[in-house]
Amino acid sequence: MSKIPRNFKLLEELERGEKALSADSISYGLINQDDITMTDWNGTILGPPHSVHENRIYSLSITCDASYPEHPPIVKFVSKISLPCVNPEDGSVMIERFSTLANWKRSYGIETVLLELRKEMASPANKRLAQPAEGTTY
C-alpha cells in the first residue's frame, strides 16, 4: 500500500462528509468552503440513544494541521459535555485519555474520531454522567 498524501486523504474525507456516506449519527465538513489547506473542520455527534445524551446534538471543532494524518487532529467540543476524556475547562479532547487519539493510525480519519467519541458517550461508565444544560457552549 502506498501512502496517500494528506491533501488527497482530506479530499476523500470531505467527499464522504459531503455525500453523507458516513453513519447517520455523525456529520462533518469544512468550516470555510474555500479553505484550500482543509485545516479547520466542524463536526456534530447525535447523542446515542439510551444515554443522558439521547436527542442532544453536540458540535465539535476539528483541526487537521500540516502533520495530519501522521499525527491525530486536534479535537474540541464546542457544546458543553461531561466526559472523562474532555477537558472541562475548554472542551478539548485530551489525547492521553482517548485511545483513538493516543493510539492514532494513519488510516483513521475525522469519521473515526467522531464515531469513537460517540461510543465513549454511550459506554456503561459514561452514559449516566450528569451533563451541563443542553445548548451551552465553551
Binding site: S2, P5, Q33, D34, I36
Partner: protein
C-alpha cells in the same frame, strides 16, 4: 515500502527527459506517487502568463483508475471549484489506462483554454460565465494576475 510499478517509473522518466512544453511534474522524494505540478496558462486565454501549481497522486490501483489531481493556485474557472477540484471527463468516467500523467496534464491545460460552463463544478462562476462572459474573463485575468504570478 512497496516497490514502484514499472509503468510509473517509465512515465516519470519520460516526464523528466522529454517534458511537455509549459508543464512540469516532479515527484516528491519521499513519495514517488505524489507529484508537484506546474502548468502555464495557455496563450490567448485569461490564464496566459500565469503559472498554476497543482498536486497529483497516483493511487494504488493506477493505471486502472485515474490519477487524483487538484489545483493549489486559486483560479477562476467554471470547471474548477474553490478547493481546486477539477471537473474533467478523463479524470472520471472517461479515464482509460491508455492515458497517462502527461495526457491528463495536457487535458487540464486544454481545459484552461476552453472553459465549459455547461458542465460546471463551480456554479456561481459558471453562471457568470454564461450571463456576462466579458466580466467573467476579466475576473479570471485579475485572479491570474493576483494568484498565479508570485515570484517562484
Amino acid at each position: 515500502m512497496s516497490s514502484l510499478p514499472k509503468r510509473i517509473i517509465k512515465e516519470t522518466e519520460r516526464l523528466v527527459s522529454d517534458p511537455v512544453p509549459g508543464i512540469s511534474a516532479i515527484p516528491h522524494d519521499d513519495n514517488l506517487r505524489y507529484f508537484d505540478v506546474a502548468i502555464q496558462g495557455p496563450s490567448g486565454s485569461p490564464y496566459e502568463d500565469g503559472t498554476f501549481k497543482l498536486e497529483l497522486y497516483l493511487p494504488d490501483d493506477y493505471p486502472m483508475c485515474a490519477p487524483k489531481v487538484r489545483f493549489l493556485t486559486k483560479i477562476y474557472h467554471p470547471n474548477i471549484d474553490k478547493l481546486g477540484r477539477i471537473c474533467l471527463d478523463v479524470l472520471k468516467n472517461n479515464w482509460s489506462p491508455a492515458l497517462q500523467i502527461r495526457t491528463i496534464l495536457l487535458s487540464i491545460q486544454a481545459l484552461l483554454g476552453a472553459p465549459n460552463p455547461d458542465d460546471p463544478l463551480a456554479n456561481e462562476v459558471a453562471e457568470e460565465w454564461k450571463s456576462n462572459e466579458a466580466l467573467a474573463i476579466a475576473t479570471a485575468k485579475s485572479w491570474t494576475e493576483q494568484f498565479a504570478k508570485e515570484g517562484d
